[in-house]
Amino acid sequence: MDEHLRALRGSILALVALGGMAFAQERPDRSRPPVLTSPAPLKLPAIDKRTLANGLAVWVVESHEVPIVQLSLIVRAGGGNDPTGKFGAASLTAAMLDEGAGTRSALAIADDVELLGATLTTASSYDASAIRLNVPIERLDGALPLLADVALRPAFPEKEIERLRQERLTALLQARDDPSSIAGMAFARIVFGPEHRYGTGLIGTETSLKALSSGDLRAFHASYYQPPNATLLVVGDTTADDVVPRLEKYFGEWRPAGALGRDSVVSIAPQLRERQVYVVDKPDAAQSQLRIGWVGVPRSAPDYFPLIVMNTVLGGAFTSRLNQNLREEHGYAYGASSAFDMRLSAGPFVAAAGVQTDKTAEAVGEFFSELNGIRAPIEADELDKAKNYIALGFPAEFETTTDLSRRLEELVVYRLSDDYFERYVPSVLAVTAKAAQGVAEQHVQPSRFAVVVVGDRKTIEPGVRALKLGPVRVMTVEEALAP
């Protein structure tokens, strides 16, 4: 702790001008920003780790500000575990959990949740599935049997599966309306291809959705929703001693329904070889949606901290280079950003913006200028700003029970070490310019990026071609979203 505090203070002093004035004067000195005292040390939440009789791990974090408790059952299986040809199985399984469970109907579950003043969500990412219940603490006893029914005894009624299937098919149809959705889906498909799991959205395609049966969902639930593959997070106005016996009553009897399914087996997608441009025609669109990038890195990347610092400089914050260039300098866009979507396997690296139609080519040019520029050494001031932005903003990510619970999920899903939060700030502050440049050179190679432009082809195509970035392929929306 001491070391990280010294580092924080050192960085701050480096940023504000030296020799500030004393605090207690009448009129403020506006000739330079105020000198700041050192930040309070981050008080990390203590995680009380328990285990139920059946082996289910329970992590309890106390937070007594508000009489609320959040329970999140995290299951280590998500879209990445979808069987071949069954893309969308994890997502639909999770969505079906509260559509009938135990003896409760879908409407009865919703009614119970609302009367409890609770919120209940069930969802999957590519890496995990989660059932999240937030409830006033005095109604916890009413909520626990409900949570157990939903998690352990989903009924998967055919009529509700059919309803959700139709909703999802309609959502896929509606995705064609939104240039931003089209761009995201087309980019994933182009970078990862139709076979790789990350080339298709979580809910799957029209074809795969139509192929999912209740048997598929039951099988997914039986294979992965098992005590050894799950962790129950409890954050809020309670203690482990109080809550664990109550959990034992509802979750202690939970037994595996069969053999545990395989861990996520998403392979690292083959990297793009050469740059290619895709223009997806959206006639008369007022803006062009840009997505530029390639296969990024997995969450287990050893260079995690240099990567997030480098990306903060490039496109992870308001004063990042992409936003300053596209928005503040040129006014081409409302905002521009970049991100590494790190999953169990390598997710995409993508730089993105919506830019005005008549400046599309200019904007793409500026994107490449910044993407190339990030490979050069980063000045100390800029690097320090990014590091401090991440490190000093870290405590705010632990403010509410929901914030805390979300941070804990990260530990569970990616099997991060117990001292991860303690190491976080020092690890950020330890990133050197050399390390940042190293990850930029390795993971930001603009000469091999896919460039997806969704916009008014007749206006933007000539300018985009004139950039001579590489082969240009023009597509309709239907072609871009083809199953």
Binding site: P28, L107, P136, G331, K385, G393, E399
Partner: protein, 455 residues
């Protein structure tokens, strides 16, 4: 950045009769505060919450798009953007750079009635926020320039393109306001402004706007979080004391707004599915009827068991989605019901069901359990709202919202009482009074081409 949300829709009730659980202690819903006014007229509200070592500096200027005039719409929001571009002692770009280097996050938003800004940052950096916030209050114009205005003009036009022109159904809300409110009413134009007016806004307009509305006596400052009250008061006096008092800002002028008939219109958009919008003019925020209509909206369309959701989305599956909302603002309110039609069905089929359900609420009160379900939800959501100090809708922002609404910053208990006291008959009466079948707006968005049918 901007957003347009109804004033504090955070509502609650302490009743929980159906479940027999005891009510949570109301003490946690209080936000004790210290309030004072500087000599220049700035209202200051301080609230200590040391649960996390962060602090939120939240300022509301009591001006929004309702203070604009036709021909200069969008000015309040364009001005909000300029507040981040630097002031006499803060160089171009330094506002955000200094804040990020301190681990801060900041943003601003404009609605019809007010413009708010927040800076959330580690408690040790409070004085940096006060320096920046006071400098743009006292010394914004010193370094303002036509180039700076032009730069943000383009950004805002792109914000409009991204949020309206290029978004599915994006133009509907603009059309809806134009139909609901009479011409010249300040709620009849969009806060984002028209493209023509954004082009027309001049440097002189910006200067005049600042001088008229951005004076300390037209603002309220809330500082909430891990603060020492006495020291913070001294710091506020030090940094904000030198801002000069301005003239009394002219209040917005609103002609009477009533609908006397059904107004119908159809727009076309590049979308797959038709969407129906029904709109009524209703109660102002916090006025009689506002809370009851908020509950009516939930009874109609919040959750799987709500009346419209159950019939349209769950059982008949004619609609992909349905929402209802009461939007109480300072000069008036509106109530909206919006539903998207699934392939194979029609607007008429949806509208028939909506009208049946509205008729049923006009004829008979909702049952007690139905009301209780809504009240339990809003009660719990209120507790959740007390957890976060900063950001939009956090405690600091809420204290400012209550202060601006005129009830005093810690209006939580009174706000709660508005909902607690509601009976099923109140809901019925509000629907009868405010949502008549023959005085409303009916806006339909149709696909440019016929939707793909699947059924």
């Amino acid at each position: 950045m901007r957003m347009r949300l109804p004033l504090a829709l955070l509502v609650m009730s302490l009743c929980s009769l159906s479940l027999g659980a005891q009510a949570p202690s109301p003490a946690t819903l209080e936000a004790p505060y210290t309030q004072f006014t500087l000599a220049n007229g700035l209202t200051v509200i301080l609230h200590r919450d040391a649960s996390v070592p962060i602090v939120s500096v939240n300022i509301w200027y009591h001006v929004g798009s309702a203070n604009e005039r036709l021909g200069r719409t969008g000015l309040a929001h364009l001005f909000e953007h300029l507040m981040f571009e630097g002031s006499a002692h803060v160089a171009d770009g330094a506002f955000d750079t200094l804040l990020e280097a301190a681990g801060a996050s900041s943003n601003g938003s404009t609605d019809t009635d007010r413009t708010n800004y927040f800076i959330d940052l580690p408690a040790n950096a409070l004085e940096l926020a006060l320096f920046l916030e006071s400098d743009r209050m006292a010394y914004l114009l010193e370094t303002m320039s036509p180039e700076r205005v032009n730069g943000q003009r383009e950004v805002v036009k792109n914000e409009r393109r991204q949020s309206y022109e290029n978004r599915p159904y994006g133009m509907a809300s603009i059309e809806l306001d134009r139909m609901l409110w009479p011409q010249g009413h300040p709620y009849s134009w969009p806060t984002i402004g028209s493209m023509e007016d954004l082009t027309a806004a001049s440097y002189d307009d910006i200067v005049a706007f600042f001088k008229t509305y951005y004076a300390p006596n037209n603002a309220s400052l809330v500082i909430a979080g891990d603060i020492d009250i006495a020291r913070t008061r001294a710091l506020v006096e030090k940094w904000f004391g030198e801002a000069s008092r301005g003239p009394v800002a002219p209040p917005p002028v609103a002609p009477p707004a009533v609908l006397t008939e059904i107004k119908r219109k159809t727009l076309t958009d590049q979308v797959q599915l038709p969407r129906l919008y029904l709109g009524w003019l209703t109660a102002r925020a916090y006025a009689p009827g506002d809370a009851a209509l908020g509950v009516a909206a939930s009874i109609l369309a919040e959750g799987k068991n709500s009346r419209l959701y159950t019939r349209l989305v769950y059982e008949m599956q004619m609609a992909q989605d349905v929402t209802a909302v009461q939007q109480g603002a300072a000069l008036g309110g509106s109530f909206l019901i919006v539903a998207t039609v699934k392939p194979g069905y029609t607007i008429e089929q949806i509208q028939k069901v909506v009208d049946e359900e509205l008729d049923r609420l006009r004829r008979e009160p909702p049952d007690r359990r139905e009301l209780q379900r809504v009240l339990n939800q809003v009660e719990a959501s209120f507790y959740r709202g007390m957890e976060r100090v900063g950001g939009f809708g956090g405690k600091a922002d809420q204290l400012n919202a209550y202060y601006f609404a005129g009830g005093g910053p810690d209006f939580h208990a009174e706000d709660l009482a508005r909902y607690m006291s509601l009976s099923p008959a109140d809901i019925q009466a509000a629907v009868l009074r405010w949502l008549p079948p023959d005085r409303r707006v009916e806006l339909i968005v149709e696909p440019v081409t016929a939707p793909t049918t699947r059924q």
